[in-house]
Assembly symmetry: C2
Homo-oligomer: 323 residues x 2
Amino acid sequence: MRCKRCRTKPVALKLPRHHTALCSDCLDHYVVDQVERAIRHFRMFRRDEPVLVAVSGGKDSLGLWDLLHRMEYRTTGVHIQQGIGGYSTDAEVKTRAFAEARGLSLVVHDLEREYGGGVTAMADMSRRSACSACGTVKRYAFNKIGRELGFQVVATGHNLDDEAARLLGNLLRWQVDYLAKQSPALPASHAKLIRKVKPLFRLTEQEVAAYAVLRKIDYVIDECPMSHDAHSLHYKAALNQLEHHAPGTKQFFYLEFLRRQPLAAAAGAEEAILNECTRCGEPTTGTLCGHCRVVEPLRQARQSEPAPASVSPVSPVSLDWEA
Amino acid sequence: MRCKRCRTKPVALKLPRHHTALCSDCLDHYVVDQVERAIRHFRMFRRDEPVLVAVSGGKDSLGLWDLLHRMEYRTTGVHIQQGIGGYSTDAEVKTRAFAEARGLSLVVHDLEREYGGGVTAMADMSRRSACSACGTVKRYAFNKIGRELGFQVVATGHNLDDEAARLLGNLLRWQVDYLAKQSPALPASHAKLIRKVKPLFRLTEQEVAAYAVLRKIDYVIDECPMSHDAHSLHYKAALNQLEHHAPGTKQFFYLEFLRRQPLAAAAGAEEAILNECTRCGEPTTGTLCGHCRVVEPLRQARQSEPAPASVSPVSPVSLDWEA
């Protein structure tokens, strides 16, 4: 079967939702084009603006970093060492190797060094799921590290499957307040927040995986061992089943939501008022921020002194490589 | 394992979403209670008011009729003979037998006798899916027959799975206008429309099936042979998968939607303005109603004269049994 675009090379990937099938070269063009469209449409960042890229070591985040670097954006990576045994070691090794091979700057933030324990310990101590604890601490670190290093924007590797699954979850639970915040480009709604963008939101997980393979990126293939029963995986499985029967379901579901988002936001969501956390000073809707609620039980168990409000809980970061 | 309610009889059905398991007697109480709650909460109909019950011959509609009859509501059944071979013959036989055994009135509306062809022919001629053609013609007939016989309300056997699947489909396609109309109790929004109610909306498909089995109702077990790839079946399968991992997902999704419905309706849905169909005079949002668009190609193919606007396309109905 020949590529439906160039009609010469053999097909590398079928894209049923676009009624097409592409060879490796045309798939590469397609992926770059979709990312460029996403960045331009949502004015995510300019070509001369430094962008912090959150990299886990998986296909999505390394694929994103590879894309932005090739597209000549000014990128620095930030990797959170979660302390989940061999999985995290492997992720850090692959992320460091990726950056080194391309001469890219990378910041590594080690949770065990920082808090005396990784995601598993934090989840246990704070009685949260590992995914909840991890997500809270990661979002906190991306924003704080980014801001302290002078970045105004952080990019994550969330793809169409991630966003559609999150939307489905928010609708199944009618978390209307979350709908208003589910955008591929979140503005800095507080002086201490930097912008958050998701340049891969137009590409499916399968398309990003194919891109990473074609680009010979050495990424962590395993899913995180803590996420085996995460709701998001069940939402993705349900959507994949529906996509199989009606290609385009996921894309229409999420992109049409974005088109209608002002309406959804009007339907009951209230603008959150942000305070500063009484412990760490970072923005929060409450008094003690989610991050401090997650890490404090672990800190106390480690018998270290609680950090006063004026002291940052994030270590001075190290730039391992300069671009 | 003993019933969690009476603690004496063995369990007939587990209800994970309610963290319980019931024996046959307690399940019966539960089902009757849920239906009574549904009827009262939405003021579906009074006990002295005649109710037309749409009966296909399946577990849901015969289960509903059985329930309403036991609960001493004043019911008459209406059955559409769809002309889908042995499946429809079986459905009509079982529906007639159910009514006869209980001395209940039943109206049978035969599509082949009426239009010269059944659902399959209508779908082919009007280039619609069988489910779309069937649904359009059935809704039309229930309303017209009900009104002409003096009923002000028609009840259908839609259960929680049906309603949650429909809601999921409407959200995946962002059919916001449909959301406003997705209620267990639709008012008569036009002089020629009667109320439409769904007293089983609080019960899952499995619960209704268990009720029908316990009541020894002889219903059609097979799914309609035309519906094997219907979207609704895929939505149900996806929701069942999610329910399995998180019991209560379906119920929360639909009941919380109902609670928030005024908000959803405000988010872009416009109140439909109803005209009268230029051919048959029944209410429609356009000029020619959906029913006439479905049946007209078949009528013309049968070389019968098109019915003038003043003549009803529904035959005088026959009351086979008087209650």
